[in-house]
Amino acid sequence: MSTILRSHAEQLFAHELEELQKQDSGRRPANWKLTPQSVVTYLVGGILKNGMEITPKYIGSRRLMEISVATLTTDRALLLYGLPGTAKSWVSEHLAAAISGDSTMIIQGTAGTSEEAIRYGWNYARLLSEGPSERALVETPVMRGMKDGKIVRIEELTRIGADVQDTLITILSEKTMPVPELNTEVQAVKGFNVIATANNRDKGVNDLSSALKRRFNTVILPVPDSMDEEIDIVKRRVESFEKVMELPAEKPALEEIRRIVTIFRELRSGVTLDGKTKIKVPSGTLSTAEAISVVNNGLSMAGYFGDGQLKAADLAAGILGAVIKDPVQDKLVWQEYLETVVKPRAEWKDIYRACRDLA
């Protein structure tokens, strides 16, 4: 086993990508490693003609993946939008891996991301000694992606300052990056495109200017559709976490996961699962990723401080932490939920007591 903490998608799933490429028969857009149909198959999983199974990378709507891939075949860039924890970066990594065979052309957007990080920088030692020249130019992932015709990923686009964001406009509409210092330009090779991700819950981010917005097709990744889908995701991720952390606690019962997912889904959607009663919605996002961390947290609690069995009491603190983000408003919401929904459920007595004791 390699000692790398986390491998890239194209390394982890090299086998699947290779096999898909072999089976591929349709027409590929220029510089794409796979046909659009195969990219979709790679993302949502399926069985190839030779019987090989492709594991699903994204559990959810196939249509959304189709829209994403179709967008990348047009000359518009793709913006993946959604709550934190809805697999935006995950999808973008796998899209890049499947289309270009390379998910490493990435820029992490922060408030401090400068124009040089997106366009190009200078190697100042060379610049001083040789003057402006191609050799003194420091290429960014965007520039390399344009030259090689690859997919470039920009994470958290909205965190980048508005003025810096707008440098993307020319790149996306004219597909060229001028370098006035050298009186030259870099024209994008076919196959170049941009996948950006942004989340729609954070405050204090820089909204895209409408000029830039127009260069992107937006796909909103939703929270999981059905109960079973979400349980499936939580279970898979918790199991992989257990392996990494070598936790002493026993594997969580499906029942416990089901309860967490139920609570999260109900509070998120504002209605009980049977659809009969409406509930107030707390201010937090309550994403699937948070449900996963509540279960992981509970497992650690049970393993190190409890009796090794995941119990309601181990989970209660995590749930409270995830739900109550605003100490006044959310507390009322939670109290109401506890009293009107959790309390009447006969088999939920333990979790009701555990949560009430904490509150």
């Binding site: 829209i67 967008t71 097709n217 909103i220 409406k278």
Partner: protein, 733 residues
């Protein structure tokens, strides 16, 4: 002589175009269309210029209007195109199907068993075909295979073959009703043959096509159709709407997107540009900036999506997805607008005014006759005594009409005591006929239409006060189904509402329904559950709502608190009462609570025997203590004494506390609190005020110590022993 069977999908624009083209090439001398044979006579209206689709043929059982069936037609319905073709070319057109008279009679025999249930459980016969072709559902398969097809040679032959194969593989569907229907269709075709028509065009649902092509011997059909029961039916044209054509209004054989179909019908060659241009126009009308570039980009994305999915042409789904992605920046909110305005579209048809009456009108006239409430242009007053059966029925009827928005009857306040009287003024206006036709889409009887209309209105309003108001209007109309739906809606809305005042307004009517069983068939337990649920919510958020509010807001809340308390007491649920009292304690002791509310809560605790004697005096003194600003103290007192001065008269401890407090006020403070005190005491009855005044006079109005009740034994011997000393001190030795 030949018979041409054209298998179609009802309301398929592609099918309609094919039918029209086919008929124009064939030039038949008679057209037979799937539909109720009873309606043949009203087909004469079909080319009337005032008859604008969407319209529907309504067939109903004369003596039981609830038994009815609609056959809707849109401009793009193949049946409609066939009828219009026949009328244009002056050739006969006839409906063919099992006469509704028989199918109603058969259903009546079956009893109230729901026939839809069994049908829904079976998968659609075309599902297998769709799956084999790689489509997720049969609708999309059919749409892309037949409706969106541009070249149409032999399309009807293809459909026939597909259906033959499917019918052969699936015999389970040939239930009796279907056999009867197909036998009837064949009978009508044979009749046309007998009348020596040469070219017969038959337009029917695709599923029936094989049964009409390979005809079994006439004898077996005749045997099948012999001796069927029959009822008397009536039929008429009614205006229809696209909204009612869509699935959303619960019409079984409907279509998702009438507006889109109309677009496809009008512009069969559109690659999506025209549709997207419409979308862009709609967005601009709603103040969303949409450029031409947007339109271009979305058409492109829709085309790439279609290519990715291996479709020849972008359909509605691809266009919608492109709209969301390109125009709406991924948000679905605007799609609802597109859905309402373009995909479904709110087009309404019309029918000539000379056409026979709709069933709702018939039902209203029936009641007017039965209840002796004639429709006259002059107004007339009625005083109804609800204890009499006829008057009660009249009241229910009038309430229902009011719910429907037919303003025939105006209610005014009835004089005298008691709730059993209602005063109504009735005045008929011919314009109501239009209203009635319009409301006819909600149901065929007043009760049914009123119930559905109220439910739809409540769903549209989705605000607590409105729903609560509708609920109180619906209760006297005796519509248990609607009341139940409204109560459930109320519950959901109350859960989402953070406005305690609204919640508090909702509770009293709910409690009175649950206590007095105002609605006979409503499940009282359900109402009680919901009422207690709402009270719990109120208990959680009320203490906060009482904090730091203005005097006016406090007065409103005081009134609500008063009514809420009555309701809680009326409900007599120990758990809820305990919760309520707990909440009252919190309000009474809250530091930030508006004083008038704190005072009233304290008083309610006293009434409930939860605060007595010592703690009561302590609480009163605390609220009235010197450190409290006089205005605050007076407000507290107002709340505390709300509604009754008797408490003050009968409780000597309290009397003294209050009396002492007033007496110790200095002049400036007294002037300040005087108006507030006056307001408090003004609410008392005259007798109470007089008694209070007498009591003050009698006590001299001075500050006096709290009377102590002394009750110990007097020891005369010991007292006698002290006498000499006392005498000595006084100088009497």
């Amino acid at each position: 002589m030949s018979i041409h069977v054209l298998g179609i999908r009802h309301h398929g624009p592609g099918s309609a175009a094919n039918v029209r083209q086919f008929l124009e090439n064939l030039r038949p001398d008679i057209v037979l269309v799937e539909g109720p044979p009873e309606a043949d006579e009203i087909l004469q209206w079909a080319d009337h210029e005032d008859l604008q689709p969407p319209v529907a043929i309504l067939v109903y059982q004369g003596d039981d209007i609830k038994r009815s069936v609609f056959y809707p037609f849109a401009e793009f319905s193949p049946e409609w195109q066939a009828i219009r073709y026949a009328k244009r070319n002056n050739i006969p057109v006839r409906f063919m199907d099992l006469p509704v008279a028989h199918s109603f009679a058969l259903k009546n025999e079956e009893g109230p068993k729901e026939e839809t249930e069994t049908k829904e459980q079976l998968p659609h016969p075309m599902e297998t075909m769709a799956l084999a072709a790689g489509f997720p559902d049969h609708e999309r398969w059919w749409e892309h295979t037949f409706e969106h097809r541009r070249k149409n040679e032999q399309v009807f032959d293809a459909i026939l073959e597909v259906m033959q194969a499917m019918r052969a593989s699936d015999l389970s569907r040939h239930d009796r009703e279907e056999q009867l229907r197909e036998a009837s269709m064949r009978r009508i075709i044979r009749q046309a043959e007998k009348e020596n028509y040469k070219e017969i065009a038959v337009i029917c649902g695709a599923w029936h096509a094989p049964a009409l092509t390979d005809m079994p011997p006439q004898v077996s059909d005749n045997a099948l159709l012999k001796g069927l029961p029959k009822v008397k039916t009536e039929c008429t044209w009614t205006p229809w709407s696209y909204n009612r054509l869509s699935y959303r209004s619960g019409y079984g054989a409907g279509i998702h997107s009438p507006g889109w179909y109309e677009h496809v019908w009008n512009y069969p060659g559109d690659d999506g540009s025209r549709w997207m241009a419409n979308v862009a126009r709609l967005f601009r009308e709603n103040n969303m900036d949409t450029s031409v570039a947007h339109v271009i980009e979305s058409v492109r994305l829709a085309e790439s999506l279609a290519a990715l999915r291996g479709l020849p042409k972008a359909g509605l789904e691809e266009l919608n997805e492109a709209t969301v992605s390109v125009l709406c920046t991924g948000e679905n909110v605007m799609m609802r607008l597109i859905g309402e305005q373009l995909i479904v579209s709110n087009k309404m048809g019309q029918v000539p005014s000379a056409i026979p009456k709709p069933p709702l009108q018939v039902d209203i006239e029936k009641y007017q006759k039965k209840l002796r409430l004639p429709a006259s242009a002059d107004w007339k007053d009625y005083l109804l005594d609800l204890r009499k059966e006829n008057d009660l029925e009249r009241s229910v009827f009038l309430h229902r009409l009011q719910l429907l928005g037919i303003e025939w009857a105006q209610r005014s306040e009835a004089g005298g005591k008691g709730t059993f009287k209602e005063q109504w003024r009735l005045q008929w206006d011919p314009a109501y006929t239009i209203e009635i036709i319009e409301k006819g889409v909600w149901g065929n009887t007043v009760a049914e239409a009123a119930a559905r209309f109220v439910m739809a209105e409540a769903e549209g309003a989705a605000s607590l006060p409105k729903v609560s108001q509708l609920l109180s209007a619906t209760v006297p109309a005796e519509l248990p189904e609607a009341v139940e739906a409204l109560i459930r809606m109320l519950n959901n809305l109350s859960a989402a509402s953070s406005d305690v005042l609204q919640l508090m307004e909702v509770v009293p009517p709910l409690v009175s329904i649950s206590r007095y069983g105002n609605v006979r068939k409503t499940d009282a337990a359900m109402v009680t559950d919901i009422a207690t649920g709402i009270i719990t919510r109120i208990c959680i958020s009320l203490p906060n709502a009482c904090n730091s509010i203005s005097d006016d807001a406090a007065q409103t809340l005081l009134e609500l608190l008063y009514r809420m308390n009555d309701s809680v007491n009326l409900l007599q649920q120990p758990g809820t009462t305990a919760e309520w009292q707990q909440m009252l304690r919190m309000v009474a002791n809250g530091r930030q609570t508006a004083p008038v509310l704190a005072g009233y809560s304290t008083r309610l605790l006293v009434d409930g025997q939860l605060l007595t004697e010592e703690p009561l005096v302590r609480a009163f003194n605390f609220a009235m203590s010197q450190a409290t600003a006089p205005a605050v103290a007076a407000a507290w007192l107002e709340g505390f004494l709300k509604g009754s001065g008797t408490l003050l008269l009968l409780d000597p401890q309290l009397w003294h506390v209050v009396n002492n407090w007033v007496a110790t006020l200095d002049e400036a403070n007294f002037n300040q609190v005087l108006p507030l005190l006056r307001r408090t005491f003004a609410h008392f009855t005259h007798a109470e005020r007089r008694k209070l005044g007498e009591k003050v006079k009698q006590d001299g109005g001075e500050a006096s110590p709290l009377p102590m009740e002394t009750n110990f034994e007097f020891d005369a011997n010991r007292a006698a022993q002290s006498l000499p000393v006392v005498m000595q001190l006084l100088g009497y030795s």
